[in-house]
Symmetry: C2
Subunit: 197 residues, 2 copies
Amino acid sequence: MTDVYCALVHYPVRAKDGSTVTTAVTNLDVHDIARLARTFELRGYFIVTPIEAQRQLVERILAHWRDGGGKKRIPNRADALSRVRVVDTIEAAAEVIAQEARGTQEPGTAPRRIATAARSSGRELGSYAAEAKLLAAEGPPALLLFGTGHGLADSVLDEADTLLPPIAGRGDYNHLSVRAAAAITVDRLLGDRNSAE
Amino acid sequence: MTDVYCALVHYPVRAKDGSTVTTAVTNLDVHDIARLARTFELRGYFIVTPIEAQRQLVERILAHWRDGGGKKRIPNRADALSRVRVVDTIEAAAEVIAQEARGTQEPGTAPRRIATAARSSGRELGSYAAEAKLLAAEGPPALLLFGTGHGLADSVLDEADTLLPPIAGRGDYNHLSVRAAAAITVDRLLGDRNSAE
């Protein structure tokens, strides 16, 4: 089984007008996606922001759960948050992952980057089924990339090894929260198909 | 295609110790699940709370998006929130749904209640595949029930027509946020299997 990681990217992401911006970290994104990552046994969840004050903020939240009052109050939350790491760039996350390569993977093996987007961009798309199959087998580690704001910047999509299709609902409305989109994506890729079907 | 609704239940739900409590409404649950409901074309999203002050709070939030500044700023959010309704009991939601029966359904047709739970309770479980098939066909309306706190009270599970299996990740950790659990459940039941597979 492949080691899977995810990253919530706060830069570079798109603003409403298509320009590239940095978004603010929100506490709830840290918690919700950490719980998701723990449930589906992702090996790590990276919060990506170039803003040092924001990285410090997340580290303070994590310390509360690692060593502070949070752990006593809700131990399972502390467990989930123990997988969270804070980095300044996607590249830094990829480097950490490469260092953690284990099993059949050579140390230094770069992760395959799997990008997600809510909008169609004309790029070639992978499929959830093909990715799920790859992740169920032994292979290089995988890094799932989720964008905040109005989605990952084009440069991130361009550098990804795979771009997953937008999550289609029943109509043409497509404005899920990143928390919901991450949950659906991870379930499609790693969920127990026996319970799902 | 069946008319599907969902409800986020703040009473009766379980506390950590198994007792029955009322939880507080959170703004983010209103938004995230409204966006999910809109994406998957649910016909309505009910916030269920017996506390009048909480119902008024949600109505104020909705008014901001229906008539206030929110609609101008983020029209698609206003669109999603237009499906939200606030009721005091699950029964009241079921009555509204019965009044809205259309198509091949007789007016007054009560919805099938589909409950969700993160814990195993020894009750007989439905399956996502069987439910997805039912919902894809013409049938009585369906009401998906999601619990806040530590999940729907036993009385709600007992009165449901179907209880879906807990969402299994890769291990035994099972503490998704209700926002993530709702997203995964709705995708398993109504998601475009062509894009998912």
